[in-house]
């Protein structure tokens, strides 16, 4: 009996605008109107500045731990550019550029890292709050996509996670649910090479992370995640597949975090300086600017003007976050349930007046009983 292949496939890698500024016209022409490239580049500059300011806020003690987004602006921005308003974007915590493009007020991200849940109250756009537990959000995206399919509202869900998250069981369960139940989900893995200090090869011994999706029967593709054109192209294809066919797609976006994991991390302990230097040259801002300058759409004056606008905007954003009224101590009771159960009402009312969190009238009641017993 002959041995025949039961299944063979390849994983494609998509690149349109490379780090030297070379542009593949056959794939890239007409993909993004020039004015949109300009708008996205401006947005990237603003997000980069936001990131620098957020880092400084942490370093000067004005904000808690913060994960720098620097270097990873493109994947989420490209997705946000492609998604419709009704779609859901379900992120991890290195997707500020996409969240802001969708309309999330920037101060909400600062509030989150300033330890204030009001940063997670979002009614401006269909995005979920930052997911801190790695991998937890992919199932929520799958459920949201399922709800949209059930309601036939035409919306899809696009979820973001890192390379390390694909080791979590929840990734595999989400991929399996999405594929088996025909759900319109786009899975975007931002493979930045590191899960804190653990390199991707210790998370995944297959040649690509993308092929993890193959096991679940979904389309999989690898893309240069620092290339706005390639990212927009693959997300467009994936969104079409989701919206028209209710099929999920797995996108592995190769990118790099130019900063530490968070402000509490020091990547020099585990990353080579050479590697960092190589990726600094691949910075998505550098090549996007090259693309624009080659076409006379950008110059030094415009750069300066945009940086100036960004600085002004972010000053106001920081002001909004820092000058918000202090939260009331009772706030952490108030959204526990839609109606507060009696015990929680009691604890809320007496949190500062009784060591037991009890109704002070209890003391009077027991005194009465004591008196009547003695009598």
């Amino acid at each position: 009996m002959p041995i025949n292949p039961a299944f063979t496939t390849t994983i494609d890698h998509v690149s349109i605008l490379d780090e030297q500024g070379n542009f593949d016209s056959s794939l890239g022409d007409g993909l993004i109107p020039n004015e949109d490239v300009v708008a996205m580049y401006k947005h990237m500059l603003t997000c980069r500045h936001f990131d620098e300011i957020a880092f400084k806020l942490q370093r000067s003690g004005r904000m808690g731990t913060y994960p720098e987004n620097r270097g990873q602006e493109v994947p989420s921005l490209a997705a946000a550019y492609v998604l419709q308003k009704k779609d859901w974007m379900v992120t991890c915590y290195r997707e500020n550029a996409g969240l802001f493009w969708r309309g999330l007020p920037k101060e909400k991200i600062l509030l989150h890292w300033m330890g204030d849940e009001r940063g997670n109250f979002i009614d401006e756009c269909n995005v979920t709050p930052l997911a801190i537990a790695i991998g937890s959000q992919m199932l929520h995206a799958t459920g949201l996509a399922w709800a949209s399919k059930y309601k036939k509202d035409g919306a899809i869900a696009c979820t973001f996670f890192g390379d390390g998250a694909t080791s979590e069981g929840d990734f595999h369960e989400a991929a399996n649910f999405a594929a088996n139940l025909d759900l319109p989900v786009v899975f975007v893995c931002q493979n930045n090479g590191w899960a804190i200090s653990t390199p991707t090869k210790l998370e995944c011994s297959a040649p690509t992370v993308a092929q993890r999706g193959l096991a679940y029967g979904m389309d999989c593709i690898q893309v240069d995640g620092n290339d706005i054109f390639a990212m927009v192209k693959v997300v467009k294809d994936a969104v079409k597949n989701a919206r028209e066919n209710n099929r999920p797609t797995f996108i592995e976006a190769l990118t790099y975090r130019l900063g530490d994991h968070t402000t509490a991390d020091d990547a020099r302990r585990y990353r080579d300086a050479d590697e960092l230097e190589m990726w600094q040259k691949r910075d998505p801002l550098i090549r996007t600017r090259m693309y624009l300058e080659q076409r006379d759409l950008w110059d030094g004056a415009k750069e300066e003007e945009q940086l100036d606008l960004a600085a002004k905007e972010i000053i106001q954003v920081v002001k909004n976050a820092e000058e918000i009224d202090a939260p009331s101590a009772t706030d952490f009771f108030d959204s526990m349930y839609t109606e507060l159960p009696p015990e929680l009402q009691k604890q809320r009312q007496t949190m500062r007046t009784s060591s037991l969190g009890q109704d002070p009238s209890q003391i009077e009641q027991t005194n009465e009983v004591r008196n009547s017993t003695n009598g």
Binding site: W88, E117, R118, N120, F121, I122, D123, T128, P129, A133, S136, M138, L139, H140, A141, T142, G143, L144, A145, W146, A147, S148, Y150, K151, A157, G169, D170, E173, A174, N176, F177, N180, L181, D331, F332, D334, S335, M336, Y337, T338, P341, P342, E343, L344, L356, Q358, Q362, T366, V369, R370, T373
Partner: protein, 322 residues
């Protein structure tokens, strides 16, 4: 009125709520054509179709996590975890995600869902099919937890749970899924979550229990011939402290009965509540009749583990003699 078992009452409640509200859908392992391993969803797949009664892949975290997304997306999902022993893989999504959703978004993204879970021992089931983990989830702020002890209560409480805007765990005591029948109204009705039921009134002692052990308590009370007030909590979280306090202030004595292990079980919480509210009324220490602080044994010894009328009877005698 129909004479129904507890599992039939659950089936009826699901049918009626699904007919009334098309946001309600079910997901779980083997709940479709098979009707669930206990037949709680029997006939629902045929009646409502595969879009509303969904056989999920065998992945508890996936069931719980996608149910969260469904709820955030405006639906009223009812995920089923096949046995309480398989809650482990769903624990993270349940406690770290579902229970926190409302408060971490300050009310922006609520998570209205009902997690149905068969619970407890007494049916000669294999390993990990007989535990009573309700205290673990009671210690998780943000969840509501309900456990019926009769067919009538099962229907009314389940309807309330489905309509509740908060996440609710609906524990179904499998020992009494088919142990007895009861008249269950065909018409829809609700039983409020958070309110206990006084099963029988009495003057000498208050007994507090929930789920399958309520039946054991009734047997013990009958055998004792004493005047004992039995309170069935119906809802474990939030506990109806007021009903317990009201009764113990009258009787001065309290026995708590549950299947779960004794240490850090709900009996301890109830005893502490009695101390807070009834200290000067007490005539005896609060007694607990519980499962032991051991791993639930395989079924040859499960009846030695579970509280029965004899052990409850001893607690009645000791507490009344104190």
């Amino acid at each position: 009125m129909a004479n129904l078992t507890l599992v039939q009452a659950i089936n009826l409640a699901l049918i009626q709520e699904m007919e009334k509200d098309d946001r309600v859908l079910l997901l779980g392992e083997d709940i479709g054509l098979n009707g669930g391993v206990f037949r709680a969803t029997e006939g629902l797949f045929q009646r409502f179709g595969g879009d509303r009664v969904v056989d999920a892949p065998l992945a508890e975290s996936g069931i719980m996590g996608t149910a969260i997304g469904l709820a955030m997306g405006g639906l009223r999902p009812i995920p089923e975890i096949q046995f309480e022993g398989f809650l482990g893989p769903a624990f993270d999504q349940l406690t770290n995600q579902c229970a926190r959703s409302n408060t971490r978004t300050r009310g922006g993204l609520t998570c209205p869902l009902v997690l149905r879970v068969p619970v407890g021992g007494g049916i000669h089931a294999p390993e990990l099919h007989s535990d009573s983990p309700e205290a673990i989830y009671t210690h998780t702020p943000g969840l509501k937890i309900v456990m019926p002890s009769s067919p009538y209560d099962a229907k009314g409480l389940l309807i309330s749970a489905i309509r509740d805007p908060n996440p609710v765990i609906f524990f179904e005591p499998k020992r009494i899924y088919r142990a007895f029948r009861e008249e269950v109204p065909e018409d829809e009705y609700t039983i409020p979550i958070g309110k206990a039921r006084t099963v029988c009134e009495g003057e000498e002692l208050t007994m507090v229990s929930w789920g399958a052990t309520v039946v054991q308590c009734m047997n013990a009370i009958e055998q004792s011939g004493r005047s004992i007030e039995l309170i069935d909590l119906r809802t474990i979280s939030p506990i109806d402290t007021e009903a317990i306090a009201h009764s113990v202030q009258k009787t001065g004595r309290c026995v708590v009965v549950h299947e779960a292990p004794k240490t850090a079980g709900l009996g301890a919480e109830i005893a502490a509540g009695v101390m807070e509210n009834c200290f000067l009324h007490l005539e005896a220490p609060v007694q607990r009749v519980c499962g032991f602080d051991t791993i639930m044994p395989y079924y040859k010894l499960e009846l030695d583990y579970l509280p029965d009328a004899e052990r409850i009877g001893k607690a009645i005698t000791e507490t009344l003699a104190y």
